[in-house]
């Protein structure tokens, strides 16, 4: 509970009650319920295809047009929408992949998203974010010339340059080496201290276990595990999820 010390009132940031998601072919999520409060650091656990990314998309309002949400889901006391208003409500989302069709420089890419930001855009804040990920030296590079890790850092800066109340990151550590992963965890920890709620889908959860406040375990779209005592690492669940399965069912 030590991390919660400097947060005065805990506000409900995200709320899901019997939330299901239909993708026009199958149920991606079934009956998922959870509550997330201000200052939470929530890690979504689950095998590939368990519905981690989809849950983040529901919260961010970026679902494909034919997908349907059933049940109750509220983000900052409003239903998520896909009309581009989530950003101005204070929700920042970083997807897993990003397709680059229009080649531009890093500078142009960052200014592109900065320009449309409807939240009060804080130059000092974004400059600090750029400095954290050492992106300033990449500003003149073209996106097509970046390495995987550099591109991921640029994308992280883009997503973290605003003062969001809810930060949703889908595998933010992909392609990052250990140094930048440490930077990322530090930045996320600071954001959380400042009052934001952070939700990450991760596979390298051991690196963050010391400051996770909520664990949510998903299996084939169902919430099978939930732990919201800070500092408690769900070892038994993780072992059942990843280790035993891979030993007993190598193809599964």
């Amino acid at each position: 509970m030590t991390h919660h010390a400097n947060i005065q009132a805990e506000e409900l940031v995200a709320h899901a009650h019997h939330l299901s998601l239909w993708s026009a072919e199958r149920w991606i999520l079934e009956n998922v319920s959870f509550d997330l409060f201000q200052g939470a650091f929530c890690v979504l656990l689950g095998c590939n295809g368990a519905g981690k990314s989809s849950l983040l998309r529901v919260l961010a309002g970026v679902l494909p047009p034919s997908w349907r949400v059933v049940g109750r889901c509220e983000v900052l006391s409003e239903v998520p929408c896909n009309s581009g208003e989530m950003l101005s409500r204070g929700v920042s989302w970083l997807g897993q992949h990003q397709h680059v069709s229009e080649d531009m420089t890093v500078q142009e890419y960052l200014s592109l998203s900065g320009r449309s930001v409807l939240l009060p855009y804080d130059d000092e804040f974004s400059a600090r974010c750029r400095a954290d990920f050492a992106v300033d030296s990449l500003l003149g590079h073209r996106l097509s010339a970046l390495s995987g890790g550099q591109w991921q850092r640029v994308r992280l800066v883009q997503a973290l340059s605003i003062r969001a109340k809810l930060i949703l990151l889908d595998e933010p550590d992909a392609a990052l080496d250990e140094r930048w992963r440490r930077v990322l965890w530090r930045v996320l920890f600071e954001r959380r201290q400042a009052g934001a709620a952070v939700v990450v889908a991760l596979h390298r959860h051991l690196e963050v276990q010391s400051f996770v406040s909520n664990w949510i375990g998903l299996e084939e779209g169902r919430l099978v595990f939930s732990e919201d005592r800070p500092g408690v690492y769900p070892r038994a669940f993780v072992e059942r999820l990843f280790l035993e399965k891979s030993l007993t069912r190598p193809n599964g």
């Binding site: 101005s88 531009m104 320009r115 449309s116």
Partner: protein, 338 residues
């Protein structure tokens, strides 16, 4: 900013040259006017009807180039496809086909006017474009919605295929006289129009082009996928509505002015992207792109009127002929720089 001014000045000079020259004027006469030879200048002052005709022609070429280049850039960004152009969603094909169908059904259609100055052809072009847009929306919402933005291109493919088949059928049924009239138009060449008609068409073309330019930032965000755009505050549904409605105006007006001119919408965005690749062009790149399109079309139109007299080849031929080697050169130079 220097590039912007340079483009404006070269466009202006080209327009002046284009105003002076044409199949009825030899190059020595043009030279005499430019040199300030008084009998030659007087000839021009006395021949205002010829001047008006050319003014209308050059204005149309300029606006068509402006509109098509910005439409091409918008579609390439929106569909996340470097091969897209303004004709890809089939709106131009729709309007061309309806015009041809009307000409086939009513032989006097081409000479019919509403309120004495709005040709019936224009109404048909707008209606055809709107019908094609309705079809695109039906396909998008009804059939292949889950494919997202790619389904727009698919809907366009359907319309383009259907319309080109229909056009072939109509060509087979048209009388030889009517056929020779419409063939150059369908291939894309600036049509003779009166100045009052141009005063009606040109603002519409410029308007649709400027709307697309104004929406360049959200469109560039869309080029990273609609999810990225939504997460960064773009209302993608509204964006699609704005884009398709201005594209409808753009296609209908350019078809009225010049048929469907190819290659401008496809090549100019690539060319402008390569020439103005520096960061400091980022904000004005869509404007430079549109101006480059206007310049190229005025130049192509000048070529088509002067190089092969008395035959006027379609403008599309010269736009391709001019921009392909240029694009190749730019690409080649960029490779050697890297």
């Amino acid at each position: 900013m220097r590039a912007f001014i340079f483009l404006c000045i070269s466009l202006l000079l080209l327009c002046m040259l284009s105003l002076l020259s044409g199949p009825a004027t030899t190059w020595s006469e043009v030279w005499n006017v430019l040199a300030g030879d008084s009998p030659a200048v007087e000839f021009w002052i006395n021949n205002s009807s010829l001047f008006e005709l050319r003014l209308a022609h050059v204005t149309l070429a300029l606006c068509v180039g402006f509109a098509l280049a910005s439409g091409g850039r918008a579609m390439q960004l929106f569909l996340q496809n470097p091969l897209a152009d303004p004709h890809i969603v089939g709106l131009s094909a729709g309007s061309t086909t309806l015009v041809l169908l009307c000409i086939l059904l009513w032989p006097s259609f081409a000479a019919t006017y509403f309120f004495d100055f709005i040709p019936a052809i224009w109404i048909a072009a707008f209606v055809g474009s709107a019908l094609a847009l309705v079809f695109v929306q039906l396909v998008f919402f009804g059939v292949v919605r889950r494919w997202g933005i790619a389904s727009l291109a698919l809907a366009g493919l359907l319309i383009n295929a259907g319309c080109s088949a229909l056009m072939m059928l109509i060509f087979a049924r048209l009388s030889p006289a009517a056929l020779s009239q419409v063939q150059a138009w369908t291939l894309g060449s600036i049509q003779p129009h009166s100045l009052s008609a141009v005063a009606l068409l040109a603002p519409l073309m410029l308007f649709s082009g400027v709307v697309l330019i104004r929406f360049d930032t959200p469109l560039r965000m869309l080029s990273f996928g609609s999810e990225f755009a939504i997460a960064n505050g773009v209302n993608v549904k509204r964006m699609r509505f704005v884009l398709l409605s201005s594209l409808m105006i753009l296609c209908a007006t350019t078809v009225c002015a010049s048929g469907s001119v190819g290659f401008v919408g496809l090549l100019i965005p690539h060319l402008s992207r390569r020439i103005f690749f520096h960061d400091h062009f980022a904000g004005i790149r869509p404007w430079l792109n549109a101006l480059l399109g206007a310049t190229l079309l005025v130049l192509a139109d000048l070529c088509s009127r002067t190089l092969t007299t008395p035959i006027e080849l379609p403008v599309g031929v010269y736009t391709a002929l001019l921009s392909t080697p240029f694009l190749f050169l730019v690409l080649f130079r960029q490779r050697s720089v890297q």
